[in-house]
Symmetry: C2
């Protein structure tokens, strides 16, 4: 029981904490050195060290300094209960971080097929990715990605151009007042459905999700989709016709 003792710097080195941290613990009365020299230097005893090690351990299970204070002072502090809550919180946080990781990985994936992207385009991609998550399950996303790999980057770009072309043709007919029962509109409808089928690969789940997305959102990929919705209902009427006598 010689009673070893340390100055603040020595204790910091022994424990891997910073001197500032020990100052802070002193300040908030979490760990006050049991003595001071005449000139005011802090002197920590071996029981101070033992307490500090308890503090560090409790920090390492995620307790706040306030919780640690109460835990060390108040025998009625429900430490076991606090640990259970802590576990719940950590599990929840891991789930959230994993979502974020999946999002960032999806972005990294999307980006690696492109060359230089402007910040503006990148933000657009981010917005699309996040919106995508809202309507497609991870399995559906996986399915779509797999399909994209199968058909290849070139075909995807071609499809996008085909969409542009098709939409402007549809808009033209609508502007001209062509009735949806016109055979030209039916032809456009067939191309429309073919492109949708190509994207969904015939998967009805993906088809439904896509439809919900277009019915819910007002802007997709930076485009107002209200005009597109009007095209959709025009095209839908075209399909009804062949069924009639």
């Amino acid at each position: 029981m010689a009673g070893e003792s340390w100055k603040i710097g020595e204790l910091a080195r022994r424990t891997g904490l910073s001197v500032r941290t020990l100052h802070h613990y002193d300040q908030i009365k979490l760990l006050r050195p049991s003595a001071r020299t005449a000139s005011g230097h802090r002197i920590y005893s071996s029981s101070d060290l033992a307490r500090l090690q308890q503090i560090v351990s409790l920090r390492q299970v995620g307790f706040s300094l306030q919780q640690i204070k109460r835990c060390l002072k108040d025998p009625d502090f429900g430490a076991a209960e606090a640990l259970r809550l802590q576990l719940d919180r950590v599990r929840q946080q891991i789930r959230e971080q994993q979502k974020l990781r999946a999002r960032l990985e999806a972005l990294a994936n999307t980006m690696k097929s492109k060359k230089k992207i402007s910040n503006e385009d990148l933000i657009q991609i981010i917005q699309d990715t996040i919106m995508h998550e809202k309507y497609f399950t991870p399995e559906q996303s996986e399915q779509i990605k797999k399909r994209a790999r199968q058909v290849g980057q070139q075909r995807i770009e071609q499809s996008q151009k085909d969409w542009q072309t098709l939409m402007s043709e549809v808009q033209t007919e609508m502007d001209k007042g062509t009735p949806p029962t016109d055979p030209r509109v039916l032809a456009l409808a067939k191309r429309w459905h073919a492109l949708v089928e190509e994207f969904t690969a015939g998967d009805p789940g993906i088809r439904d999700s896509l439809k919900t997305m277009y019915q819910t959102e007002s802007v997709i990929h930076g485009m107002q989709i209200e005009p597109m919705r009007r095209m959709m209902s025009y095209i839908a009427k075209a399909r009804e016709v062949p069924g009639r006598p």
Copy 2:
């Protein structure tokens, strides 16, 4: 292009943010409403909304508000690079959170076999758990846990009592100055090794880790282990004897 516009409360409701958050974004010049009423009320235009949606998206990939500001202002801001760094950070954080989760789960496991535990005892268990992690691999921990389940709680408690008894007997012989070559000490050594073997289940890896732990730490399970180290070397000498002619 009628140019819709919203007051701050309306915009908050539309985006799910708080009014205070929008005040904050205004304050740090991240999103300033493009107009004010005569009485000073903020008026947000649809392009303000578009910018806000970009901000929200960038927040959802983990960017800080400062990063978002730069990303929206400076075309040279390396957003793609920042995303990669963000992914690294998130992966690292997940690894750390998973360690913490494993620790808390180990604690929950240890605790569920006990009834009411005082905070003091619980802190002791936490310290032991954390120390344990330093010397045993997850596989070894799993091994030890499995073994504990096999032998049962009762046998474990009995072993701990046996340890206490044995150590006090060894201490007695040391105090009496009994030479380690004495047959009584050899008998003690045999009991000692039997208890170690029982804990390690004959696994040499676990045996080594245990030895390293006792050689490195100065306090284990709240006990000074310096006296125990002295016992160990006394006991070790006892073993050397039978080998001699």
